[in-house]
Amino acid sequence: MIIALVIFFIGVSFFFYLFLYLPKMNKVKKERGVISSLNGRVEKAIREVDELQEKIERFDKEEVNVDFFKRHQIPPERRTPTFLEKMNELVNRLGIKTVMVKPMPEEESPDYIRYPFLVEARSKYGEIVKFIDSLENSFKLNLDDLHIESDPKDPLWHHLKFTVSTFELKSEESLPSHEKGKVKGTPLQMVIRNDIKVNRDPFLEQELERGKRVAKVPIREIRRKRRPVLKLKGIIDIAGKKVAIINDKIVREGDWIVQHRIVQIGEDEVTTVYGRKKRTLKIESLLKSQQR
């Protein structure tokens, strides 16, 4: 009887375990598996979002300059006038001559609108660098198609041409993370860095930069080449007075020959004055023999 009861107990318990408890337990385990997989997916997605946000913040730090007008709360109808006013203020402070500021057609893409302005100006190199620095780092705008050209007529002033633009993102939510949640726009402050020093103007010949027209070595060569050629062929004593034969012409002291005044005729040399400089001519045959 006891054995029968034990067998019955075990049988019933086994029945309950096998057909009621085990299926439910399996269901719980399966759900647990699904939950842990979901947990993993959520954690992975959160990590990825965090990484992307870090990347976006890094972009912000590196100054990817988008939403110039939105950042400064400039409404669409004030965009061009505000840009022109600020550009005018900047060029006046730097003493740059503006040749042209021209709003170019907007470029629209699915994610953003690009507002380009063509700028042409004339300036010295140091001011060009400060001007560009202010646009890039103070206004936080993008510069494209840069062209600097030297002017041969006025070597100190260079011709500068570039396109300055801002990218306005279409989605409000995709503002840079540090701008999110801001109700008011940041004030548009213009900073001109006077600590920017350039070693030299790379568009200017260094001798010109030092106040000279041409380089030292070539100018000597040029003057030597420009100096009229005088060839002393010989000196003759006629009745106690010496005459010289220069370029096949007979000259006396006080005479002029190709812009040279003859000041003294010696035994074997003639002293002339060319401009303010004294020049001594030696007899050619003597020169040749000395050279040998």
Partner: protein, 181 residues
């Protein structure tokens, strides 16, 4: 036997089954919550990913010039000066596909004077080396190449004109970071 059967049934119905049902319900609720969270995070991920892609695209396009111009004045050899600095975009047809690719180049034109004891080509070579070693330049541009040199006469002196060229890097900002390190 009947009592035993009822006892075991009661134990199962009252103790084990409700506990398992509670766990199942909790798990279902957690699953619904996690599914909601997952779809929200995935939306955030997509938005952040799009934003990062766009910023990355704009970042690649951006070349900062002020530091380059300051460095240019530092690396210029004394006997050399520039006449023109410009950015040129050339359209090239890709060999494999018929798509037109745009390549952007920095073109530097200049002049050098022959000075006794120093070849004009030495100064140009020095400028190329200096530009290739300049961090602000090689962050955005590939190695500088010589396009041509031309000896000519200007008024009363000989001058050597030259042109250098360098392609704008198309690497990602991370690639640029690695290059700058």
């Amino acid at each position: 036997m009947v009592l035993l059967f009822l006892g075991i049934s009661f134990a199962y119905m009252e103790v084990l089954s409700p506990s398992l049902d509670r766990r199942i319900q909790m798990n279902r609720a957690r699953k619904i919550y996690l599914n909601g969270q997952l779809s929200k995070v995935e939306r955030d991920l997509e938005k952040s990913s799009n934003e990062a892609k766009l910023l990355s695209k704009l970042h690649i396009k951006r070349v900062l010039w002020s530091r380059k111009l300051v460095d240019l004045s530092r690396v210029m050899p004394d006997d050399l000066w520039l006449t023109d600095l410009s950015i040129k975009t050339i359209e090239k047809k890709a060999k494999a596909s018929k798509q037109v690719e745009k390549e952007t180049y920095l073109a530097i034109k200049g002049v050098t004077l022959p000075i006794p004891g120093r070849e004009p080509l030495d100064s140009i070579a020095q400028l190329i080396v200096e530009l290739n070693g300049s961090k602000p330049f090689n962050q955005d541009f590939e190695a500088v190449k010589l396009v041509y040199t031309h000896l000519s006469r200007e008024k009363v002196r000989d001058i050597m004109e030259f042109e250098l060229s360098s392609k704008l890097r198309d690497s990602s900002p991370l690639g640029r970071e690695k290059a700058s390190r």
